[in-house]
């Protein structure tokens, strides 16, 4: 059993004999704090309600992180961890339930498999957990894949190969060359084609017995319930928070399991959110992070094989739900670290105050998700920011008094492309390195596509710069229109 040091706040030290720190054993933070109260019973009424819940004005930190941002009381503890109890005003706690249950019942009259189908699925039929009965359940099943990118691509391939009867695909992008590093559903000849067209073709070639239904649109509050309704399982392979919350909320409202996956650089997360028997995504993350805090794959990069692992895990969970076998990842968050090559598992609990899935939920319909996630309307990110087009910049650079060019991207992006003569200052470092920009000259700030530079321009205007503009469309627009020798990304 791990041993953690508990830091006792000054007001509670009279109850621990004046000791500021107490070493307590426990598997997770909840057990440690309860262990502390067991050792010093006078503390109990200050830490817990009479019902035994942590009081809402008790904040608990594991090392530097508030456990509400981790897995609350279920946050696992390692030897030597420091658990700090900090007085505060807040809310939260838990209950849970889980257990497998098949989704597709065997009610309709079974249709016999053809000779070819028996051969195709023979390795499934050999498994007692699948067999003819399970294979029929798969054939009757409908799975919706929201997003056919890094996560959706491998999941779609495996689900089609496994003989899932209907695969719904939601996406509206076209295949780009930079997708092929991880989106294994597409080939080089598909570049420029609508993803769903290429995906349908590929999946039907893989297994003609699968119906592929295309939903070539952006999922939004107006169409989500209608699109999700016919499906047994929804697989969330989205790359943005508004859609992620939308998928979660629609699944909760429709009573469907949501097989969740997410990836970031070298790390992945998988869980099954099924509000009927466990927590939903909102129990884990009631609020989205600030929009500029979480970079997308396009900004942060991702190891190509990572979504393959995570998408395959999601496909596994979807199959288990359809077959009603095994222990689904309900109430558990699986963390995968590709660099360490380590899997960890955290217990998730249903938030008894969840606005969406608790008994006293206050939200009973879909909301405006871009607004909820603080995502600016298209164009709003650069609204009010003085901009310069690539053509205007070219002319200004050729003039007698050229502007100072400031590249606010990250160092690894500088290696991909750069405009000669730029001063390289990552956006986050700008305030402290502002002295490097002479106020006398005009300044043009650029990034990849114009979003970060708009922010940086606002920062500089706020610091008293007057002649500062943001390059519209970023270095990618510059590369497309002025200097085709540069790489776009």
């Amino acid at each position: 059993m791990p041993r953690a040091t508990v830091r006792v706040p000054t007001p509670l030290r009279p109850f621990t004999g004046g000791r500021p720190e107490v070493v307590v054993e426990g598997e997770n933070v909840g057990a440690v704090v309860r262990g502390l109260a067991d050792a010093h019973p006078a503390l109990r009424s200050h830490l817990f309600t009479p019902e035994g819940q942590l009081r809402n004005f008790v904040s608990v930190f594991l090392n530097e992180d508030e456990i509400r941002t981790l897995q609350r009381e279920a946050t696992l503890v390692k030897d030597g961890d420091v658990v700090s109890i900090v007085p505060a005003i807040a809310g939260g706690a838990d209950t849970k339930a889980r257990g497998p249950r098949p989704l597709a019942s065997d009610a309709p009259a079974p249709v016999a498999f053809t000779h070819d189908e028996l051969k195709r699925y023979s390795r499934h039929l050999l498994l007692p957990e699948v067999g003819v009965r399970g294979q029929r359940a798969l054939r009757r099943a409908k799975v919706l894949l929201v997003g056919t990118g890094g996560l959706g691509a491998p999941a779609a391939l495996y689900l089609a190969a496994a003989g899932v009867g209907e695969l719904g695909l939601v996406d509206f992008d076209s295949v780009e060359l930079s997708n092929l590093q991880r989106q294994v559903l597409y080939s080089t000849d598909d570049v420029g084609r609508p993803k769903l067209e290429a995906a349908k073709e590929r999946l039907e070639r893989l297994n003609p017995g699968v119906r592929v239904v295309r939903h070539e649109k952006r999922l939004d509050s107006g169409n989500a319930l209608e699109i999700l309704r016919p499906y047994d399982v929804v697989l969330d392979g989205t790359d943005n928070f508004p859609t992620r919350y939308l998928v979660n909320d629609a699944c909760v409202l429709l009573g469907k399991p949501n097989v969740y996956g997410s990836i970031y650089r070298f790390e992945g997360q998988v869980s099954v959110f099924d509000a009927r028997r466990g927590p939903c995504y909102r129990c884990l993350y009631p609020e989205p992070p600030p929009p500029d805090l979480v970079p997308s794959c396009a900004e942060a990069g991702v190891l190509g094989v990572l979504p393959g692992v995570v998408g395959a895990l999601q496909a596994t969970e979807a199959m288990k739900l359809l077959l009603g076998v095994g222990e689904p990842l309900v109430g558990r968050l699986l963390l995968y670290d590709a660099l360490e090559m380590r899997f960890r598992e955290l217990t998730l609990r249903k938030n008894p105050d969840c606005v969406l899935c608790s008994p006293h939920a206050t939200q009973h319909e879909l909301i405006d998700y871009p607004a909820f996630c603080g995502v600016p309307e298209p164009g709003a990110a650069t609204e009010g920011v003085p901009e310069v087009t690539p053509e205007e910049l070219r002319d200004a650079l050729a003039s007698a008094d050229p502007p100072l060019l400031v590249d606010v991207r990250e160092p690894q992006e500088w290696a991909i492309s750069t405009i000669t003569g730029s001063l390289e200052i990552p956006k986050a470092d700008l305030p402290e390195r502002v002295d490097e920009l002479t106020r006398a000259r005009s300044v043009v700030v650029y990034c990849r596509s114009g979003g970060r530079s708009a922010d940086a321009t606002r920062t500089l205007l706020g610091l008293g710069f007057t002649n500062v503009r943001s390059l519209k469309g970023g270095i990618n627009a510059w590369a497309e229109r002025i200097d085709p020798t540069l790489t776009t990304y």
């Binding site: 000054t10 007001p11 004005f57 904040s59 900090v86 005003i89």
Partner: protein, 157 residues
Amino acid sequence: MTAVELPEDLVSAMRGFAEEAYPEECCGFLLSPPQPGGTSTRRRVVAIEPAPNVSDGERRRRFVISPAELRAAEERAGRAGREVSGFYHSHPDHPARPSEFDQDHAWPWYSYLVLSVRGDGEPGDLGAFELDPERREFHDVTLAVLPREGGEPGTRL
């Protein structure tokens, strides 16, 4: 603790913060020399430090000091040889009496100062309170305002 001593200039500073934040509530930390054992019946507040009111609801009626902010204040106080001995906050257009909400969220041991602040510029009153260790009652404690030049405790507000 049965009495809190507070220099007059800290009261003025607190009023300044309260007026600045008006019509919202202001809040902050009370800092005192550490009292090991905590058996003294007097607590001397030697400094105050404003804290951001991070209540995401109605800051006209609520204050929240984030736990991270409190931890940071405790660290700063520790380095300066002091401890966070309590909190102050303002009640815009309300008397300096603790509300039920104040009591529900109070901790034992800490001193709580409540300063009334009014929109018409008239100075409001100031009260000091503490929660008993059994969490039953949020009771009044004596507040002694020390005149500027040190000296003897002045009048109770």
